[in-house]
C-alpha cells in the first residue's frame, strides 16, 4: 500500500515534469518564435511534445498546448485590403470563443500584422484593423471585451520575408496569444 502510494506520487511527479517539459518546448507563440508560422498540416504532432492532456474536456487550459486541439491554431489570415474573416477561419474563432467563455480568467492578446509595403505607421494601423476584426468576431461569439486586447505589430514581425504575394499574404494576419504567452 505504502509502496504503491509512493509509486503513484512519483508517477505524478514524472507526469508533471513531462508536462512542464512539453510546455517549455512549445514556442511561446507562432510569431514570437521569430521564423515560424504555425504548422498548418492537420493533426500534426510534434515528436518532442507528448500529448498528456486535453483528452477529456476540449476546452481545458491544457488544450492550448495540444497540437491535436483546434485551439493549437492561432492565426487568422486576411485577403489584401480586406477585413472580412474568411469562412475557413470561422470554426477556429468559434473554438477560441468557446474556450474564452469556459475559462473567463483567461485573457487574450490579439496581435494584428501587415505586409511590408508602405509606411510603417500606416501598416501599424492596418494591422490594428485586422486585430480589431478578430476581436469583434470573438465578442460576437460570446467572449467578453475585458478578456481581449487587440494590438498591432504592423510590418515589424513578418512571418515571411520574401517579396511576393504568397509571402505578403502570410503577413496579413491576426495572431491570438493567451495569458502566459505574452
Amino acid at each position: 500500500m505504502r509502496k504503491s502510494l509512493a509509486l503513484s506520487s512519483s508517477l505524478l511527479t514524472l507526469a508533471a515534469l513531462v508536462t512542464l517539459a512539453g510546455c517549455s518546448s512549445q514556442p511561446a507563440a507562432p510569431e514570437q518564435a521569430g521564423a515560424g508560422v504555425e504548422d498548418r498540416t492537420p493533426g500534426a504532432i510534434s515528436a518532442t511534445a507528448p500529448v498528456m492532456s486535453g483528452q477529456g474536456d476540449p476546452y481545458a487550459i491544457a488544450a492550448l498546448k495540444d497540437p491535436k486541439s483546434p485551439l493549437f491554431k492561432r492565426s487568422v489570415y486576411f485577403d489584401y485590403d480586406s477585413l472580412v474573416v474568411k469562412d475557413e477561419f470561422k470554426s477556429l474563432l468559434d473554438h477560441h470563443a468557446k474556450f474564452l467563455v469556459r475559462n473567463d480568467q483567461m485573457k487574450m492578446l490579439i496581435q494584428g500584422h501587415a505586409d511590408e509595403r508602405g509606411s510603417r505607421e500606416y501598416n501599424l494601423a492596418l494591422g490594428q484593423k485586422r486585430a480589431e476584426a478578430v476581436k469583434k468576431a470573438l465578442m460576437l461569439l460570446g467572449a467578453k471585451e475585458a478578456q481581449l486586447e487587440s494590438v498591432s505589430l504592423g510590418e515589424e514581425k513578418p512571418a515571411c520575408m520574401e517579396q511576393a504575394e504568397s509571402c505578403w499574404a502570410q503577413n496579413r494576419r491576426g495572431d491570438m496569444l493567451y495569458t502566459g504567452e505574452f
Binding site: 496581435q111 508602405g118 509606411s119 501599424l124 494601423a125 494590438v151 504592423g154
Partner: protein, 424 residues
Amino acid sequence: MKIHILRWLAGALLACVALFAQAQLSIEITGAGNQRLPVAVADFAGERVVAHALTSVVRADLERSGLFQIVDTSGAVLDESAVPNYSDWKARGADALAAGSVSVMPDGRYETRFRLHDTQKQAAIAGQGLAHNATQIRATAHRVADIIYEKLTGERGIFSTRIAYVMKSTGRYELQIADADGNGAQVALASREPIISPTWSPDGSRLAYVSFEAKKPVVYVHDLATGRRHVAANFKGSNSAPAWSPDGTRLAVVLTKNGNSQLYVVNVDGSGVTRLASSSGIDTEPQFSPDGEFIYFTSDRGGSPQIYRQPVAGGPAQRVTFEGSYNVTPRLSPDGKSLAFVTRDSGRFRVAVMGLATRQTQILTDTAKDESPSFAPNGRMILFATEVGGRGVLAAVSIDGRVKHRLSVQAADVREPAWGPFSK
C-alpha cells in the same frame, strides 16, 4: 521592469563599444546642385596638432551640401591673420577662401581661429575664434562649416545637427544618435523588439519613440543626457506615432483604446489625454504645423490613405492630397510652407514635396521604397529611409531634388530617420 531597463542599459553600453569598430555609417554623395559656388579651404596653420582632422571635415561638409565646389588648395597653409593673394586665389577659381589656425592654449585646450575671404571683393567677410578640447575637433569643424555656409548662402547651416535612426541587425534593434554626417554614432536604446517612429523634442534634449518591448506598441519619451525614459502612452491597444507640439509640452499620439487608430493629445508626462480628431477608419501619423495651429495626418476616411489637416482648436478636416491612391507620412517644412510626404506611383513609394500655397507637387526621388521623410532644420534637405540592393539605407535629397547623398552601414539595415533641431 527595473532589471529589464538595466539589462538594456548594459546592452546599450556594450553596443557603443562595438559600434565604433564596425557599424560606422558611411556617406556617399550621389547628386549635386548644378550651380555650385567654388570655395577654397586652406589647411589651417598648426593643424598638425589635431592630425589635420579639422579642415578635411569642413571641406566634406561643404561639399556634401551640394552647394559648393571645393577648390584644390594643393596643401597650401594659410592662417587667419595672413592677407591672402586674392588675385592668385581668384585665378585658381575660388570665389571664397577660408584660412585659419589651431593653437594649444595654456590650459591645454585648443583654440581654432579662422577667417573667410571674398576673393572678388578682396576682403574678409567673416571670422571667429572657437575654444574646444581634443574630443570636440569634429564639432568645431562643423561649427566652422556652418559659419561659412551661412555667410555664403544666407541660411543657417545644418552641419552641427544630429540625426536619430534605428539600426537593425539580426535579432537586435538599436536607436542611435549620430552627427548629421553619420559620424560619432551612440546607442540610446538597444532592444530585441522593434523600435519605430523616433522624433526629436523641439529643444533636441529628448526623443519620443515607439517600442515593442512589451509585445505591443508603447510610446516612450527618452531624455538623451540622462538616459532616463518614461512611458508617455500605454493604453489598452496600440500606442504609436508620437509628434511633439512646437512648444515641447504635448505629444500628439495615435491610440486604439476605442477601436481603430485615432488621434489624441497627451502631456509629455502622459497625463491629460484628449481626443484630437475622429473618424470611423484609420487616422494616424499626426504632425503639428510649426505654428501649432494645425495637425496634419494620414487618414483612410475617403477610401484610400490620403493626407488631411485639421485645426488643433477644433473644426472640420480638410483633405490636402488628391493625386494618386496612396499619400502618407505628412511632414511640414520648418517654415510651414511645404509638405513632404510619401506617394505611391505604379507600385513605387517615393518622397514628394508639395508647396502648400501653390498645391504643386514634385517627386524628389527615383527609388522605390521610400519611407519616413524628415526635414533638416533649415528646410534645405529631406532625410528619408529607402532600400538599395535589398538593404535599408538612409538617403537625403534637397527640396529641389538635385542634391543627393546616402548613409549606409555594412551588414545592418538603417531606417526610421529623424533629423534633429538646430543645436543651441
